[in-house]
């Protein structure tokens, strides 16, 4: 069953006085099924971030519809958006986006506090999660005291604590070293294995190779997609590099 359904998404940015029009998304349609692990790849300027912002309801598309669990995101009012985002979406960002003035634990609690849960309840939620993500020891620390990998795992914990329908990850490995990257990708595979739907935007082939399906975006359109189909990560890696080569070199000639 499709958990996310994106139909004919279009986004045009205009400068304030309407002088310049930039088409960031031309016509994007795709669906994500429950339990899927999807990576979206594309070069800088291909519209990845615009797409993600639209999916996160941070930005309204010019045209088209986005349905999450059959509910239209574009029709949400400003008031509903925040709680909707909080309850249904979990975010993992490239630069972690942890708040400096909160301890690791409080950062993870943030969405729950906003939903008005009690401290006892929150504490109950965080313990198993911290165990799973290996951050039990650093819960009382502050973001400036921990490493990048730990920061990203904290961000993942924050995203997961609300049991969201969908995790949106924007270049989650972008600011991590290779060991931390491996750790995070394994973690993503693990939580995906437990049934969590993940949508990840990246241009790291390595990150994408862990996904079940990779969508390629070019010039504001879904250009190509490949499925894992039971292959190993390295098979997937190979497929992705091949696809990228075609897209960036041959793609133009074939058109």
């Amino acid at each position: 069953m499709a958990i996310l359904d994106v139909r004919n998404l279009k986004k045009i940015y205009t400068t304030r006085f309407g002088g310049n029009r930039v088409q960031a998304l031309k016509n994007v349609s795709f669906t994500v099924d429950e339990g899927e692990y999807v990576a979206i790849m594309g070069e800088s300027g291909s519209g990845k971030t615009t797409l993600l912002n639209a999916l996160a309801a941070l930005d309204k598309p010019t045209e088209g519809e986005i349905y999450l669990d059959g509910k239209s995101l574009t029709k949400l009012t400003e008031k509903e958006i925040s709680s909707f985002r909080r309850e249904n979406l979990g975010f993992v960002f490239q630069d972690f986006n942890l708040l400096d003035n909160f301890s690791v634990k409080d950062n993870i609690f943030l969405p729950l506090v906003l939903s008005g849960r009690s401290y006892a309840e929150m504490n109950l939620c965080v313990q198993p999660l911290a165990q799973k993500l290996g951050i039990s020891d650093i819960l009382e620390k502050f973001p400036y005291e921990i490493s990048g990998g730990q920061k990203q795992r904290t961000a993942v914990a924050r995203a997961l604590i609300t049991n969201p329908r969908l995790i949106l990850a924007d270049e989650p490995t972008g600011a991590l070293d290779s060991a931390a990257t491996d750790g995070l990708l394994k973690l993503f595979a693990k939580i995906n294995g437990e049934g969590q739907t993940i949508l990840m935007v990246t241009h790291s082939v390595k990150a994408a190779s862990h996904a079940g399906r990779v969508l390629f975006i070019k010039d504001g359109e879904v250009y190509h997609q490949i499925y894992r189909g039971g292959g190993s990560n390295s098979d997937m890696y190979q497929k992705i590099t091949d696809a990228l080569t075609v897209i960036s070199t041959g793609g133009g000639e074939n058109e």
């Binding site: 985002r85 003035n101 008005g116 401290y119």
Partner: protein, 660 residues
């Protein structure tokens, strides 16, 4: 390269950073104007000719303008530091784009020169324009006739030019130091990633509270004026230290305690604001304490000088109860003086409206509970137990007040100022009187109250008692003893000049009485009192203006820098699912707390400063504490309104930055 490249770049830099530079330039302009006005007033020969004693105003202004100069130095340094910090990235970029530090320095030098020129041009213009106005105001306040004409003081202009050139040079050197010490990479790097959370320092917080309490305690409990003068500065320093400690350590300790309370902390509203405040207080504690201290200065200065100004008529009346007072040691001298003087008044074409005689005895004694010790060996430590005792007989009292009281032997009436007398008996020499009644204030003819002392008016049952007290006192004080004094006070109408003319006659007449005497005139006294309070008042206004401006500027810069720092944090919160409304609410409550905290604290400081300020104002014969209370309240209200306006305006630029 184009010769005009650097000048153009410097100009466009100022324009580009207009948001930050505009208030800076305005401040510089106003500071220049205020300095020029004060300097020029101090050099203006017209001031001296206003009225007798008005040269004091000039001296006061001359003294004040250097305070302004010093203040300008500190203040421009502070703001420039802020501007330079904001522009680090910009300099880093220039550096990476191939400008050497030498070139950057050149640009900064040109910028400084532009700002200096603009400030001097507009500041002097404004100063010269307002100078005359201020002169007229002063003339009005000291009630002198005004001579028209324009006065421009070249010396004041040169002083201003030199002073501000030097200040800007120092500020520029500081900027240079900043530029040279920094590495391009540092310049480019975004502001501190991951700021350390401040530590709660309970001991320092407690120390702050103690300092504050000490300052308050001094103010509230100090009764006597000599101690008040010495302890005033101790109290001020204690309160300043206390303010800084409480703002820095106290606030964070309190917030951390709140955070420890899990049930309080983990509520949506508190969660965002408490954590936000911890962060904010770390950055802003010192700035806020600055604002608080400055605001307190403004409030205290404005309220006391206004009270002084408004209360000067009262002060004059209490210092000089009669238009002309005459005091002689022999009764005959009094009679002959009063007779010839009344004649002189009538001859001058003026009418006598009121006159009074009395026989009084006054001397000083040390208060020891209900016994008054008279000793010729007074030590300084005893100062605050020193009382002025004024004795009159019951007959005199009844005549002066129109009462019909009687006293038995050994009974007395007493009036006591400023503190009441709390015993049933009063002992002096070998006498022990019982107090029949504490009477309300009545005026004696001879002994005008000098408010800074404790006064006891004692009404004795008979002339014999009065003489006895007088003799005993003379035995002890010897050459320094006072005798019985015969006093005459008279009021008459007429203009100031007429009154002074008559007063000059009075001095002549008094000289011919052949007795030792003293004589005083209210009109003559006015001319020494008014210029003094006028100069305090104007000093208060000038410095008050500057301090208010400083406060505005600090608030404004705080808002801007806060805005840029908060922007990022609020973006993150939005992504995690905090609604715009919640963010706005949280911002609002935090900003409100942060900016109104200093105002409220300043209000509390001022309230606690009130008692000691009141004591100090007694030195200027300002006895009307209701008046000073009203002045303080009005000043606070006006300041609060102004503060709220500043807040509203600057908060708008803050929201613009955050929500962009």
């Amino acid at each position: 390269m184009n010769k005009l490249f650097y000048p153009k770049l410097a100009a466009s830099n100022i324009k580009k950073n207009g948001k930050a530079y505009f208030p800076y330039i305005i401040t510089a302009i106003i500071t220049v104007a205020v300095f020029y006005i004060m300097r020029s007033l101090s050099l203006n020969p017209g001031i001296k000719d206003l009225t007798r004693g008005s040269e004091f105003i000039g001296e006061m202004m001359g003294f004040g303008c250097w305070i302004v100069g010093f203040f300008a130095l500190i203040f421009l340094f502070y703001t420039n530091g802020f501007l330079m910090k904001r522009r680090r990235r910009e300099f880093g970029l220039f550096n990476i784009l191939g400008m050497e530090k030498r070139h950057i320095s050149k640009v900064v030098a040109l910028e400084s020169i532009y700002i200096l020129l603009i400030s001097l041009l507009f500041g002097l213009g404004l100063g010269i324009a307002l100078d005359k106005l201020m002169f007229l105001c002063i003339a009005k306040v000291v009630r002198a006739d005004v001579v028209f004409g324009f006065f421009i003081s070249p010396e004041a202009i040169i002083n201003t030019l030199l002073l501000f050139a030097v200040i800007f040079l120092l500020v520029f050197l500081n900027s240079l130091r900043n530029i040279h010490l920094s590495k391009p990479i540092e310049l480019l790097q975004s502001k501190s990633t991951g700021e350390r959370e401040p530590r709660a320092r309970l001991i320092i917080a407690i120390l702050g509270i103690l300092c504050l309490a000490g300052g308050y305690y001094i103010s509230v409990t100090t009764k006597d004026i000599m101690t008040a003068i010495t302890l005033f500065f101790v109290a001020v320093i204690l309160v300043i230290i206390g303010t800084y400690l409480i703002f820095t350590a106290g606030s964070i300790t309190l917030l951390k305690l709140l955070r420890k309370n899990k049930r309080y902390y983990y509520k949506t509203k508190h969660f965002l604001s408490v954590s936000g405040m911890i962060y904010r207080m770390k950055q802003n504690a010192v700035g806020l304490a600055n604002i608080c201290v400055l605001s307190t200065f403004v409030l205290v200065m404005l309220s006391s000088t206004t009270a002084l100004m408004i209360g000067e008529d009262d002060a004059l009346k209490s210092r000089f109860p009669y238009e002309v007072s005459f005091q002689a040691s022999q009764e005959e001298a009094l009679d002959s003086f009063s007779e010839s003087f009344e004649k002189a008044v009538t001859n001058a074409g003026l009418t006598v409206t009121n006159k009074e005689f009395s026989k009084e005895l006054s001397f000083a004694a040390l208060e020891r509970e209900n016994y008054f010790e008279v000793t010729s060996e007074q030590r300084f430590e005893d100062y605050n137990r020193l009382n002025n005792l004024c004795f009159i007989t019951i007959d005199e009292y009844n005549r002066l007040t129109g009462e019909r009281k009687t006293l038995k032997e050994n009974e007395i009436l007493i009036f006591s100022d400023p503190d009441g007398y709390n015993y049933d008996t009063l002992g002096i020499f070998d006498r022990e009187y019982s107090i029949k009644e504490t009477v309300p204030k009545f005026s004696l003819v001879g002994s005008a109250i000098i408010s800074s002392y404790t006064y006891r008016y004692i009404v004795l049952p008979s002339d014999e008692e009065l003489n006895y007290i007088c003799e005993r006192q003379q035995e002890i004080y010897g050459d320094y003893a006072n005798g019985l004094s015969y006093n005459f006070g008279i009021d008459f109408d007429g203009s100031d000049d007429e009154k002074l003319d008559v007063y000059n006659k009075a001095v002549e007449i008094a000289g011919n009485t052949g007795s030792s005497y003293s004589i005083s005139s209210r009109t003559a006294g006015k001319e020494s009192l008014f210029p003094m309070s006028a100069s305090f008042f104007f000093l208060g206004i000038f410095l008050g203006t500057l301090f208010i401006m400083a406060t505005i500027l600090i608030i404004y810069y705080k808002q801007i820098s806060e805005g840029y720092e908060d922007k990022e944090r609020y973006e993150i919160m939005q992504k995690v699912g905090v609604s715009r409304r919640e963010i706005k609410k949280s911002i609002h409550s935090q900003i409100l707390t942060v900016f109104f905290l200093p105002l409220i604290t300043a209000g509390i400081h001022t309230a606690f400063a009130f008692p000691i300020i009141n004591r100090l104002l007694l030195m200027f014969e300002l006895t009307n504490s209701t008046l000073s209370a009203v002045c303080t309240l009005i000043c606070f209200a006006a300041f609060a309104v102004l503060y709220a306006i500043i807040y509203a305006v600057t908060a708008r630029s803050y929201y613009k930055i955050v929500s962009r």
